[in-house]
């Protein structure tokens, strides 16, 4: 593929502020001047003929070569013209790591930039709320994705445990929250004291309109539980003053309705949500760092565990990214099998969403039905991969295994009977008065807002934007399947439900078509660089043995380059961005996490709704914390 003509237009418009441009694995990359990046991105977004209106991702890359500058990467996509573009900014290490924030252009950049700040220590000038997002705010070991940061962290394990346990959860209230309507002054006295003692607040500093007045005794008394905890002497002695108008409510991180370890801090006026501030990172597991220490095929088991509601689709997405990096064309049978894997994943992902959301809104029965159907898919999945959940189905260049005997019949049977369950759920929910009352008109986003927040998947489509990676950036021959993209009208919780519901039907259709066309043939490419030779050959043939040895000991080695590969999974656009320096382990493995980005619109959606509706709105985002926090 040639270079994107936008680069030429950029050069004409911005001259020397545009640096070198190159094409890697078909993706056009253009380097721009760090001081001009905001202006250039705004131009790219707003200029007719360019219209890169969708910010896919912001991330950063640090190379293993310590001389090379850090790079901030902006992945853009034009929803109208269906063209991607990658813009990069170089930040030499001997200068301050700073670049202008693009939050004024795209709201969706907010959390993405915070993550880059947290993981790389890059400051975004003009960001409204730049603080750590995945690690806690007082985390003192550094910025984990920097190359000089050891995989296991800088401190010993006992020190890490000590610091973690010593950090009271309340210390993670941000300054912003404490400024909410002077809420600081409504906090129990012991909590206030703790915040000052732990250095989150300083006595004498100003919060909101008032000054922090506090005398911290050098008592060093043991921390008292304050989350609904037993009243301590201090808390009892000085009753908090609830005279203010607003109230601060903390939901989570351990709460049945937050779909994982999400924590929401909510400012309430009576029952109405004035502001909702999500806190994430409670499940941050360091996937991306871990990936830098693994061979490409060894990363596939990790992908199971990011979005564990649709593991097979993640496996496919990662393998496709590596194949793009290496220029591998997979076999026809493999393509169809991967479509089957992706659609099965979409079904179980939507089913769990439906079941748990129904519970949140007060309907228990659909949970049992949808879990029953999930078990049926699990049976098939287990027959195919040997595991119910951690499937590790793909390999670079092919599949871990072909489908077993009886699988096709089993899946056909599922496709035949599954719509019956759907019809039942449809009957109890879709026109149910309570369900409609609890979902309609809630958390609505317009199309512009949804795009501006970089939403994807059913969240975006419910707002009326028909963007689906399967249609707009087709892979695995999705363009040859006959299926519809359901699109909502109001962008509210109910529309999101309808969109997902219809997607379940469409996925069943795709599955049927895939089964019909499933060709015979090999599942793996014939390429000894990436695929292990059969065991019998490895035992008998010298050459095959050498390939086997090299594969196992050295791993798959893509050439120098980088690739971004998006797929549409149940949550939205799941991207894998890989940077290779020619070795067997990626320099950078970035997951473009759909539910992380979708969740970042929650504060916007929740505003002005009742607290009880916040639960429904949060449920409608369909988050999976494993992927939000990675």
């Amino acid at each position: 593929m040639g270079m994107n003509p936008t680069v030429q237009a950029l050069r004409e418009r911005f001259g020397p502020r545009i640096g070198r441009a190159l094409v890697s694995c078909g993706d056009t990359i253009v380097y721009v001047d760090r001081e001009a990046v905001r202006e250039i991105l705004r131009w790219l977004k707003e200029t007719p003929g360019q219209q890169y209106n969708y910010l896919v991702d912001i991330t950063a890359v640090e190379y293993r070569d310590p001389e090379r500058p850090l790079e901030v990467v902006y992945e853009l996509f034009s929803l109208d013209r269906k063209v991607p573009l990658r813009v990069k900014v170089e930040l030499p290490k001997d200068q301050p790591l700073e670049v202008d924030s693009v939050v004024p252009i795209w709201q969706g950049a907010n959390w993405l930039e915070r993550e880059v700040y947290d993981m790389f220590g890059i400051t975004f000038r003009g960001h409204p709320d730049l603080r750590r997002i995945l690690m806690w705010e007082t985390y003192s070991e550094g910025h984990p994705l920097r190359k000089d940061f050891p995989l296991r962290g800088r401190f010993s394990r006992s020190e890490q445990v000590r610091q973690a346990l010593g950090a009271s959860p309340e210390a993670h209230y941000s300054k912003e929250e404490l400024s909410i309507a002077d809420l600081y002054h409504d906090l129990p006295a012991d909590m206030r004291e703790r915040l000052v003692r732990q250095g989150v607040l300083e006595a004498g500093s100003r919060i909101g309109s008032r000054t922090v007045e506090l005398t911290v005794g050098e008592s060093g008394a043991a921390l008292a539980p304050a989350w609904g905890g037993a009243g301590t002497a201090a808390a009892v002695a000085e009753e908090p003053d609830f005279g203010g108008d607003h109230m601060l409510v903390n939901i989570g991180p351990q709460h049945p309705a937050t779909h994982g370890v999400l924590r929401l801090v909510v400012e309430l006026d009576g029952e109405v949500v004035v502001r909702c501030i999500p806190h994430i990172g409670y499940l941050h597991s360091g996937f991306e760092k871990l990936g830098e220490y693994r061979h490409y095929n060894q990363i596939i088991p990790l992908t199971d565990r990011t979005d564990y509601l649709s593991p097979m689709a993640n496996n496919v997405g990662f393998a496709m990214a590596v194949e793009k990096l290496m220029g591998i064309e997979i076999t026809e049978r493999c393509k169809v099998l991967r479509v089957i894997a992706c659609e099965m994943s979409r079904i179980i992902s939507h089913l769990i969403w439906m079941g748990t959301t129904a519970i949140d809104i007060g309907a228990f029965t659909p949970f049992l039905w949808t879990f029953y159907e999930r078990e049926r898919i699990y049976n098939l999945q287990e027959a195919w991969t040997g595991a119910r959940l951690t499937t590790s189905l793909t390999r670079v260049g092919g599949m871990m295994a072909d489908i077993p005997d009886g699988f096709v019949e089993g899946l056909r049977e599922f496709c035949r009977t599954f719509p019956k369950t759907l019809a039942e759920v449809d009957r109890v929910l879709t026109r149910n008065g309570i369900w409609c009352a609890r979902t309609q008109g809630l958390g609505a986003l317009t199309a512009e807002e949804a795009i501006n927040h970089s939403l994807s998947g059913p969240m975006l489509r419910a707002s009326g934007v028909p963007y689906d990676v399967r249609k707009d950036r087709p892979y695995l021959d999705y363009e040859t399947y006959d299926f519809e993209i359901p699109v909502g009208e109001h962008g509210d919780v109910y529309d999101r439900y309808l969109v997902r519901f219809e997607e379940l039907r469409q996925s069943t259709r795709i599955l049927e078509q895939a089964l019909d066309r499933l060709p015979d043939g090999p599942i793996n490419v014939d390429d000894p660089r990436v695929i292990l030779p059969p065991k019998s050959a490895a035992m008998n043939d010298m050459e095959a043995m050498i390939f086997h040895f090299k594969q196992v000991m050295e791993g798959v080695k893509p050439p120098v380059g980088e690739a971004y590969f998006p797929i549409e999974n149940g949550k939205g656009e799941l991207g894998n961005y890989l940077v290779s320096d020619g070795t067997a382990k990626p320099v950078r493995w970035r997951i473009r996490p759909p539910s992380f980005i979708n969740l970042s619109a929650l504060p916007k959606m929740a505003q002005g709704h009742l607290l009880a509706d916040l639960i429904a709105i949060n449920a409608s985002v369909d988050i999976v914390m494993g992927e939000v926090d990675r």
Binding site: G153, V161, A164, L165, G229, G260, S285
Partner: protein, 205 residues
């Protein structure tokens, strides 16, 4: 009532001809009651929680063991089931939840991550929740199948049946010491030692 003295071979003494009286050991009665109505506090964090939900749903039916009453408030819970990985950021949370649970209480560590850190031998992950809270039953697997979790629950019931209400040491609260650790620092380091081939995977090149 179907009182069985599980496995121990003891017979329940029923005084013949008097339907209103049974005789039994107090320990046995208490343990029977405790073991068969464990209210779980589902501390589901990651993938294992999905299998936990599957265990609770129709096919595996946790209700058969008197456990269908999920206690989302730690104050009414008997057994903390940590299903999934526990990053350091979550460590103070599980600790507080454990502290808030009333005695008697037990902990099941479900999955490789909760038990040892699993594949996540990195900066973010607690290497086994036993460095944070005491654990009664470890369920191996990544994730454990629902059958595996059920087996772990049965083991816990067996353990409970062997307890004695007069043994106060079982019910001692394990407080944090001044360094905010439950175990000695050396013990934590030792428990968190990498093992197997993971020691060789720290090279980034």
């Amino acid at each position: 009532m179907g009182l069985n003295v599980g496995g121990s071979g003891k017979k329940l003494g029923v005084v013949a001809g008097s339907p209103n009286w049974i005789t039994t050991r107090l320990d046995f009665l208490v343990n029977w009651a405790r073991a068969n109505s464990l209210w779980p506090m589902p501390f589901g964090t990651a993938c294992c929680a999905i299998e936990f939900m599957a265990t609770a749903a129709g096919r595996f039916d946790l209700a058969r063991f008197g456990m269908e009453r999920m206690s989302f408030s730690p104050r009414q819970a008997d057994v903390l089931i940590c299903a999934g990985r526990l990053p350091f950021k979550l460590a103070p949370v599980i600790r507080r939840i454990y502290d808030q649970m009333p005695q008697p209480k037990w902990v099941i560590s479900m999955g490789a991550c909760a038990s040892t850190g699993g594949v996540f031998d990195n900066y973010a992950m607690v290497q086994g929740i036993d460095t944070i809270v005491p654990v009664d039953v470890y369920v191996p697997g990544c994730p454990p199948r629902p059958e595996g979790l059920l087996y772990g629950i049965l083991l816990l019931q067996k353990k409970i049946r062997g307890e004695s209400i007069t043994d106060r040491s079982l019910r001692e609260e394990q407080l944090l010491d001044q360094t905010a650790l439950r175990l000695k620092p050396e013990t934590v380091d030792e428990l968190s030692e990498p093992f197997g081939n993971s020691v060789h995977q720290t090279r980034s090149a």
